[in-house]
């Protein structure tokens, strides 16, 4: 069987990729996608530990993570649409003013 640490390593790599995406990309949609990658890496950790410990809690928490991700995607995309209407741009460097 596959050791637990393999799953944790995969999850850590995915999380780092998502963090790198948030840090490096200059596109609001891609930044949101990177956040989704990070959330799923954490989901993988929860499920792996839940299987390791043999209880069902590790599979319950990803449900809540998914729900929060859905809410976050809805609000984030609405914000992106509102911002794009104002500035016709998706570059976060464009939105540095508090008021315009």
């Amino acid at each position: 069987m596959v050791p637990l640490s393999y799953y944790l390593i995969v999850s850590a790599i995915l999380f780092s990729l998502g963090a790198a995406g948030v840090f490096l990309r200059r596109n609001l949609i891609t930044i949101l996608l990177s956040i989704e990658i990070m959330l799923n890496a954490v989901n993988l950790t929860f499920v792996a530990f839940g299987r390791f410990a043999g209880d069902v809690d590790g599979q319950i928490i990803p449900f809540f993570v998914m729900t929060v991700a859905a809410a976050e995607a809805a609000v984030g995309l609405a914000l992106i649409i509102a911002l794009f209407r104002h500035r016709e741009s998706l570059n976060p460097d464009t939105f540095t003013n508090l008021k315009w």
Binding site: S5, L14, A20, T30, L33, Q59, I60, F63, A70, I81
Partner: protein, 178 residues
């Protein structure tokens, strides 16, 4: 060891697809690659005896949330970052020191690797302590979700309601003063 092979297949697919997500210039491709990454993670969930979660991931995440992303990408009709910005901001075209974000990501990776090295019983197989019995029946999931996690479940429903109202208000077009 077919199980190990399948694990390597799915995890490699997930990592490569996720790396391509942040390396793509066109957000449309990024979203589609992310769906591929989610499919690979769902495969990993299946291997971890969580079939219901794998299906929920595919249906809710890849089916609904990613379609929402695709919808917004098409709606905004701004699929590509312009070439000038891309050349300036592309992570591979700059040395590490000039991009603070790269430094932060590397530090995070090192930190995670260090935490993994320090673990004690991480090397044993993932199902060993569970004793071979499966806990992943949907009946058991539902019982725990609606008893032990009742409050979190109800709070989640309020969160969804707030997010829905917020999204509608935020994306609403400003009414012209007439």
């Amino acid at each position: 060891m077919p199980e190990t092979l399948v694990f390597y297949l799915f995890s490699g697919l997930a990592i490569v697809a996720s790396a391509l997500v942040i390396g793509q210039r066109n957000p449309m491709y990024s979203v589609l690659l992310l769906v591929l990454s989610f499919a690979a993670i769902a495969g990993l969930f299946l291997q971890l005896d969580a079939p219901f979660l794998a299906l929920a991931l595919m249906i809710v995440y890849a089916g609904a949330i990613m379609v929402l992303f695709l919808f917004v990408v098409m709606l905004l009709n701004a699929p590509q970052e312009d070439a000038l910005t891309w050349d300036r901001a592309h992570p591979l075209r700059h040395p590490v020191v000039t991009r603070f974000g790269t430094l932060l990501a590397v530090v995070l990776s090192v930190e995670l690797a260090y935490a993994l090295m320090r673990g004690n019983d991480l090397a044993q197989p993932v199902g060993s302590r569970a004793g071979g019995e499966l806990v992943s029946s949907v009946r058991e999931l539902g019982r725990v979700l609606f008893t032990d996690y009742m409050f979190a479940f109800e709070a989640t429903s309020i969160l969804i309601l707030v997010a829905m109202v917020g999204a509608v208000i935020l994306a609403r077009r400003e009414r012209e003063p007439s």
